[in-house]
Symmetry: C2
Subunit: 148 residues, 2 copies
DNA sequence: TTATTTGCAAACTCTTTGCGCTCGA
DNA sequence: TCGAGCGCAAAGAGTTTGCAAATAA
């Protein structure tokens, strides 16, 4: 495929650094990912990629997403619903809060929480390697919302 | 199917209370579940059920497991690996710690943790309905294990 | 040039479902 | 008796893969 320099992106740069062959499809997917700050599934990534360049198949999206995950560029998430969702790793470790009414996914982080989890693990004789934590909730009415 | 009173179990009793038709297959699956204190997937439940009574199909296990979940007898869990796993609801709300080397699933509970999570949700404007929390870890050497 | 990657379609895994027969109440 | 439930096999949904053609380096 012909190189399209307009599709250069931070993630494409990482691919180059890691020595991956930078095909047109990978460049396109890297571009789409760099522009996304949500948690798309493969189908959605495919839709966005095709909008940029129709010469791409969903099999390639699956393959690329796995490649990027293996290279630490993407993190796979599972919020239920039977499909994997992906987020870039460039904004660190965090947890998720999912609005059960709208499906909106929000990110949060909390040092006390991390410390507490590590402590619980240690007390049980384990070093915690990874944590999967998702809160599923409903928007509070303003009145009952706690002050920050 | 002929009734086999040896298969009576606490879960079968709950089925009766809830007015479900207590078929031989359901009785067998209820029995198997009452004897299990781990987190089997459908395949494993099927294996255990067939060992008790071979006249059972995996479709029935799927159907029964869903029925039991809808009736609050079972809770569906997803620890990755693409298959749902089930636990009885009779031992309350809790979290899981999974040994990444052996696959062993352990349960734990922590009031401070629950409070912290509820607080985080509230601060973000949400009432937390359900929480999914799994710690994946590696056994610590005795020496570095923290005192309880 | 040539080892990799891609597109396509078939295959795979887990789960659900349509249908005619069976069985519990 | 008779409607709910069962077994079977086929269908779905998401994901992976074998193979020949295309392509980046």
């Amino acid at each position: 495929m012909k190189t399209d320099d307009r599709l250069d992106s931070p993630i494409a740069a990482v691919c180059r650094e890691k020595g991956m062959k930078l095909t047109g499809q990978r460049r396109t997917i890297a571009h789409v990912l760099s522009e996304s700050d949500d948690h798309p599934d493969v189908e959605e990534l495919y839709r966005r990629a095709v909008a940029v360049d129709p010469r791409i198949s969903i099999a390639t999206v699956y393959r690329t997403v796995r490649l990027f995950e293996e290279n630490g560029i993407l993190r796979r998430r599972d919020f239920g619903g039977g499909r994997a969702r992906y987020e870039t790793t460039d904004h660190g470790d965090h947890f998720h809060l999912i609005d059960v009414d709208t499906g909106t996914v929000m990110e949060f982080d909390d040092e006390d929480l991390k410390a507490l989890l590590a402590g619980i693990g240690a007390r049980m004789g384990y070093e915690v390697a990874t944590t999967r934590l998702e809160l599923y909730g409903r928007r509070l009415k303003k009145k009952s919302r706690q002050a920050i």
